[in-house]
């Protein structure tokens, strides 16, 4: 069945017109498809070997060769663009939620548009535009949020009425619609031909392409890629790029040094029809009906329509070979709900004759975002895969970012949301992947409301207190596989169900979190923060200190027992990590980082610490349970439990001491709370966790102690203007840009990474500035809540986006954090952002198209926080992370 389609969709003219790279694999005289091509021998070595001749592989080859790398070999096990790339629907859509994805899609669109002119290969590019329909008000809000993002990026986009929808498409039924979003620049392409065009251009730039060559595994020497083994011999190489699509997982695991690439294939169906009696115009817009879970595009005068069903069919869990793709069955019964949705949307199609139901497997990832970057375990091993059925939309941009990453050492955008290192080993379980992608695929169409959590693959990493907390009404979310408490539902109040918290407005937990915050402010709360990444670095001599002084911007040569907040910066001064480091002894340090830093930070340190057997780096995350005691009465609880004075004179802020709590010994107590509130974090060897927790709760009773969760913590840290790595801070943000100059010791006497960049910034000023916004005319009960990614307007002009937000129970206002840029009014060029520039503007935050006045601040409200505080200046300046 699929074979007919192959002929129909693929334009094979490139062979005749552009024989140049074809000749690499195929002798000139045997161009007929039946003759076996004479394979050209593989080169013995190359700088880069790319595995996979689909859209991602060819895009990486194209961009690498454009950037000047020429010694590249691309290997494809079958034929170029013959896998998912050939079968996919060919829709280029920029309507994306995540900013970096949006940029990739926008770049792809512009790239494909000029590709035919550049290469001479017909790509079938047609600018049709796309219309995303909303059947509900919530869906319309979701579309409006995307529209806001698109508009500030200069991508034309408008929210339109159902009537306008009817004018754009002749067949559409609009009776159940409340609105829609129209993106006129979205396009259709023949995806296989785009891929072939990229290959052609790459080939002209010197990239060697070999078809029918499969990579069996990658060889590794001393933690670096040394070559690839193929069924046609070996190639030595410095870099390997895994673009094997749905086979990337298997390929990653085939070598002796496994590279974990968490993705899993699902069957994906779409329908092709014969042309309509009155064939559709070639530029009729593509319709996306997320509430009906379908998309509908023009296809040769008929339609192509597929979707993302609620009950996906995962496949290849045990791993298979490519031959099976061609043999996948059509499954009409499975397609029935989507067909119903199609006929409901376009009832006139009833009489249209079916041509084929295509089964085209797509690979999905555990968090719906694609996977790119370098392996944390094997240097020179790069990956670009797991496109979540948006390979065409992202392919161009993703290939560009990966090529930049390889050539320059970093991409030109913050790609942390896509970085392979966001995953840990837990995501390598086939069972996990199978279950998770069955949840992810339907999510492609589900409404994305703030704070949704995955339901599958849960309860894997848990604190020893999990059951205790759960029994007390804990509601959980997951980070990096670790269960963390959102908040505690008080007894008798468990009427809250999941659906009610799925809202763009005020959520049902508002009062619950409010009372937890109040307790943190007035008494004391306990938050289990065991998920944080914890490393110990120690040495026999001064190696640990010397290395850390180079890798971190703050001065770590502090007296034993001190805790230092510091960034782990890259050459450009950007935050690779933001952490707290305690000096345990002269020669050993204890380092606390965000939960999702476990893989990234480890890889960063491992590759940069000297190869010295006297210097050890150990991941001790699993060894300690962390309890955060927040609030003015934390002092009292802890001193009663330890019979040790805990007041500021004896235990100043930013201090660390091993002590006993209850019967348990060896508890690391630190006077930080990650919120700016007074209190302590207890790092407890796990076997004492339950004991210490019970002691704390019992003793705390008379001080009004209660459990609290991360939502309370979040509200506290945001109203205190504390930035959070991974959300507010990233590799493109320097301490200078977020008011943390004091955490940088430019004069500490030793060189450190990023020093030069920071010195330069110090002299020349910064081009963006982390700013706090307090919403003025926002009604918490009635208005849409901010989330993150909302555009910021200064004097009516777009200046940047928010990165996080929370309701401040103290200010009784919403607080948004975000970056303000200064774009030249005429040229759009980025200018230096000064304090005056920030302070002299009138600000508005755009939430789903509605603008709210906001007051900008560069420093937190110290006057509001007038509790008994020790060393206010230290604590307030101690920006920490969630």
């Amino acid at each position: 069945g699929a074979r007919m389609f192959l002929r129909l969709l693929s334009d094979v003219r490139w062979r005749a017109t552009h024989p140049k790279w074809r000749s690499v694999t195929c002798s000139q005289q045997s161009t007929s498809s039946t003759a076996e091509p004479q394979p050209v021998p593989l080169p013995a070595q190359a700088q880069v070997v790319i595995c996979g001749g689909g859209i991602t592989g060819t895009s990486v080859a194209y961009h690498l060769s454009k950037m000047g790398w020429k010694d590249i070999v691309l290997l494809e096990q079958g034929r170029l663009a013959a896998g998912t790339t050939r079968f996919c629907a060919g829709i280029v859509s920029t309507a994306r939620h995540v900013s970096v994805e949006l940029k990739m899609a926008d770049y792809s669109n512009k790239l494909y548009q000029q590709l035919e002119q550049e290469t001479g290969v017909k790509t079938g590019y047609v600018k049709t535009g796309s219309v995303s329909l909303a059947q509900t008000q919530d869906r319309l809000i979701s579309l409006k949020r995307i529209a806001s993002s698109l508009n500030v990026m200069g991508i034309p986009c408008e929210i339109i009425t159902p009537k306008q929808v009817a004018q754009l498409h002749p067949l559409i039924n609009i009776h159940d619609l409340v609105g829609a979003m129209y993106v006129p620049e979205d396009a259709l392409v023949s995806s296989a031909n785009v891929s072939l065009a990229l290959a052609t251009a790459a080939s002209r730039n010197g990239v060697q392409i070999h078809e029918r060559t499969s990579v069996s595994h990658v060889t590794v020497q001393k933690g670096r890629v040394s070559g690839v083994e193929t069924d046609r011999g070996q190639i030595q190489c410095e870099y390997f790029v895994n673009c094997a699509g749905q086979w990337a997982y298997e390929l990653g695991h085939s070598g002796e040094e496994p590279v974990n690439i968490p993705l899993h294939a699902c069957e994906h169906f779409y329908l092709l029809t014969h042309p309509l009696k009155e064939p559709l115009a070639s530029n009729v817009p593509t319709i996306v009906d997320p509430d009906g879970r379908i998309y509908i595009r023009n296809w040769q005068g008929g339609i192509l329509s597929g979707g993302f069903e609620k009950n996906p069919k995962p496949l290849f869990t045990e791993g298979r070979n490519q031959l099976e793709i061609q043999n996948l069955q059509e499954d009409w019964d499975h397609f029935e709900p989507l067909l119903s949705a199609l006929l409901r949307r376009m009832p006139d199609l009833e009489a249209l004759q079916i041509m084929q139901l295509v089964n085209c497997p797509e690979s999905f990832t555990p968090d719906m975002r694609c996977i790119m970057g370098e392996s944390p375990t094997v240097q020179g091993y790069f990956v670009l895969a797991g496109m979540n059925s948006a390979g065409i939309s992202y392919g161009g941009g993703a290939g560009k970012y990966l090529a930049e990453w390889m050539v320059n050492g970093y991409p030109s955008e913050n790609v942390w949301p896509l970085d392979l290192k966001r995953f840990g080993t837990l995501q390598s379980s086939r069972t996990f992947l199978r279950h998770r992608v069955m949840e992810v695929m339907p999510l492609m169409c589900d409404l994305k409301v703030p704070r949704w959590d995955f339901q599958t693959g849960r309860q894997l990493r848990t604190s020893p207190l999990y059951d205790r907390l759960d029994a007390q009404g804990a509601r959980w979310m997951e980070k990096h596989g670790f269960e963390r408490v959102k908040y505690f539902v008080p007894p008798g109040k468990d009427l809250l169900d999941l659906d009610q918290s799925k809202t763009f407005y005020k959520p049902d937990w508002f009062d619950i979190v409010g009372s937890e915050v109040k307790c943190c402010k007035e008494a004391v709360c306990v938050i289990d923060m065991s998920s944080f990444t914890k490393f110990e670095i120690s040495s026999t001599g001064d190696q640990a200190l010397e290395s850390l002084q180079y890798l971190f911007s703050n001065d770590l040569d502090v007296p034993v027992g001190h805790v230092v907040h510091t960034g782990m910066l890259n050459e450009k001064g950007g935050y690779e990590n933001d952490c707290s480091i305690a000096r345990l002894s002269k020669r050993s340090f204890f380092m606390i980082s965000p939960t999702d830093q476990q893989v990234h930070c480890w890889a960063w340190l491992k590759s940069r610490l000297p190869d010295d057997s006297n210097l050890t780096l150990e991941d001790v995350t699993w060894k300690y349970t962390a309890l955060n005691l927040i609030g003015p009465r934390a002092v009292d609880v802890l001193s009663e439990l330890s019979y040790a004075p805990m007041t500021a004179e004896h235990f100043p802020s930013l201090f660390c001491k091993e002590m006993s709590v209850g019967y348990a010994n060896g508890i690391r107590v630190m006077s930080i709370t990650h919120t700016g509130e007074p209190g302590f974090v207890l790092y407890i060897p796990i076997e004492y966790a339950l004991h210490v927790y019970n002691e704390v709760m019992n003793m705390g009773q008379k001080y009004g102690i209660r459990n609290a969760g991360y939502y309370a913590l979040r509200s506290l840290r945001i109203e205190k203007f504390f930035a959070f790595w991974g959300q507010d801070l990233d590799a493109f943000t320097t301490p200078m840009e977020c008011g943390r100059e004091f955490q940088v010791k430019l004069e500490k006497g030793t060189q450190f990474l990023g020093q030069e960049a920071l010195l330069e910034q110090k002299q020349n000023g910064v081009y963006k500035r982390f700013t706090m916004f307090i919403l003025e005319d926002h009604d918490t009960d009635m208005d849409l809540w901010p989330w993150w990614g909302e555009p910021i307007f200064r004097n009516g002009r777009y200046v940047g986006k928010t990165t996080s937000s929370a309701y401040s129970y103290t200010l009784e206002r919403h607080v948004c954090l975000g970056f303000v840029h200064h774009f030249d009014e005429k040229t759009g060029e980025e200018l230096v952002v000064t304090t005056d520039f920030i302070n002299q503007g009138e600000y508005e935050i755009d939430i789903a198209g509605q603008r709210f006045q906001a007051k900008a601040k560069l420093y937190p409200f110290s006057s509001l926080f007038t509790h008994r505080r020790r060393k206010d200046e230290v604590e307030l300046s101690g920006y920490q992370r969630e």
Partner: protein, 451 residues
């Protein structure tokens, strides 16, 4: 009072059982793929029984349903014992000798049957010794009688039925020193049970029936439709041949009193049955046994009561009618069920529902376009129809359960009505029997690849 769908399901599925014949080398070489069985009580306790077993010393599989009356003791005993009698009747002389020698010398016995039992299908431990001794006497006689001829299945079935009924009768006459056992054998003999047993060996299917349970063959016609073929005759007043037979066996003077109100002697619905010695023994024998029996028996009005016009016993026999059928590729399944099913559903509906269930769940062919011209609307209609069919099947993993769901819950349109189902299943114990009878069903699926 209203049962939710999960509650309904838990009631319907409480007794369901499935057996799949194990595959060898990825292939099932047996003519039987497996069977689904289930029962739904109306009496408390249920008086129906079911049995299924594979013969280990000969080939073939035995499946049977047993409908008890006047208590469940007889049906229970028959369900435990009958298959042993059949298996022994089928054994060749050498095997019988081997078994006898093993018993004689205290060696381990060759296993004769492999049972396929639901956990609720129990065997009485107390009587096993007694039952074993009777069985041993039977095979000893078979050894002595060695005819040298190969065993005919039909004859073996008839012999086994008759012999077991005879043993039941004798055991009650002789009694047992153990008072519990003594009471048990009397209860077995004074209650009754019908039996409908199928023996499948390759393409040879024998059904031996005594009473009004029924065996129905599901045949798929070339056009895919289903038709029902009877493989048993009901032994009751509706069967003219049966009425004729009974009349032939007794003097003309009794002709009018033999069958009254469609019942034997105006009392018994089935015209053939195990036990029921009140219709088999002479009046003297009945009186002697009841009087010398335990008090419980003596105080029981039913056992003391002598049927009216009781002149020339026996009036009742356990001898089965045996029908042979050679399986054909179009024979897809066999339904064995007690009359509780057949009185609520027409045989044609039974076969259609099971047929559609089995093909729907296990073999519903995926739709392939082929070269046909199909419009989106036509396809949509076809898919909606298939979906509706599957959704009613979807809840059940067991054909027998699916059949019971229909038998109890069908509305006038022949589709399952949840409200009706809920009402029927939530009837109090004392009312249930007025609206429905015990239902016991076994659905045997045949292997078309072998047949």
């Amino acid at each position: 009072f209203y049962l939710t769908p999960p509650q309904v399901n838990s009631i319907l599925k409480a007794n369901e059982y499935s057996f799949k014949v194990p595959e060898f080398d990825g292939k099932n070489v047996s003519s039987v793929l497996g069977f689904d069985s289930n029962q739904l009580p109306a009496n408390a306790p249920i008086e129906d029984r079911r049995s299924a077993a594979t013969c280990l010393q000969t080939r073939g599989m035995l499946l049977g349903v047993f409908d008890g009356h006047a208590g469940c003791a007889c049906a229970q005993a028959v369900s435990e014992r009958l298959f042993y009698y059949i298996a022994v009747s089928l054994l060749p002389h050498e095997t019988l000798l081997e078994i006898e020698n093993a018993v004689e010398s205290g060696r381990a016995l060759l296993p004769i049957l492999q049972w396929h039992k639901h956990p609720n299908d129990y065997f009485s431990k107390e009587a096993s010794k007694l039952y074993f001794n009777s069985l041993r006497t039977y095979w000893q006689e078979l050894i002595d009688l060695n005819s040298g001829e190969t065993t005919d299945v039909k004859e073996a079935l008839i012999n086994a039925f008759k012999r077991l009924d005879n043993d039941i009768s004798l055991e009650a006459q002789v009694g047992d020193p153990n008072s519990f056992l003594n009471y048990l054998v009397l209860r077995v003999a004074f209650s009754g049970a019908t039996a409908c047993v199928a023996h499948v060996d390759g393409v040879d299917l024998h059904v031996a029936n005594t009473g009004d349970s029924r065996a129905m063959l599901g045949v798929q016609e070339e056009d895919g439709s289903w038709s029902a073929v009877n493989l048993s005759y009901d032994h009751n007043a509706q069967n003219e041949h049966e009425v004729e037979r009974v009349k032939m066996e007794h003097p003309k003077s009794e002709e009018k009193s033999l069958v009254k109100q469609d019942r034997l002697l105006g009392l018994l619905m089935p015209f053939r049955a195990f036990g029921d010695v009140k219709f088999k023994w002479s009046i003297e024998l009945q009186k002697r046994v009841v009087e010398s029996g335990p008090d419980q028996l003596n105080d029981n009005e039913y056992t003391k009561f002598i049927p009216p016009n009781y002149h020339t016993p026996p009036y009742l026999t356990a001898e089965p009618e045996v029908i042979y059928h050679k399986l054909r590729p179009q024979d897809k399944f066999l339904v064995l069920a007690t009359d509780g099913l057949w009185e609520t559903m027409h045989r044609q509906d039974v076969v259609r529902i099971v047929g559609e269930y089995l093909t729907g769940v296990h073999h519903q062919q995926p739709i392939a376009l082929g070269g046909y011209k199909v419009t989106l609307g036509q396809m949509h209609g076809l898919l909606t129809e298939r979906r509706a069919r599957i959704s009613s099947v979807f809840e059940d993993q067991n054909a027998a359960t699916h059949l019971i769901r229909h038998a109890v819950g069908n509305n006038e349109f022949g589709t399952v009505d949840h409200e009706r189902l809920s009402k029927m299943l939530s009837l109090p114990e004392e009312l249930a029997r007025m609206y429905r009878d015990d239902i016991t069903i076994i659905v045997v699926q045949f292997n078309s690849h072998v047949i």
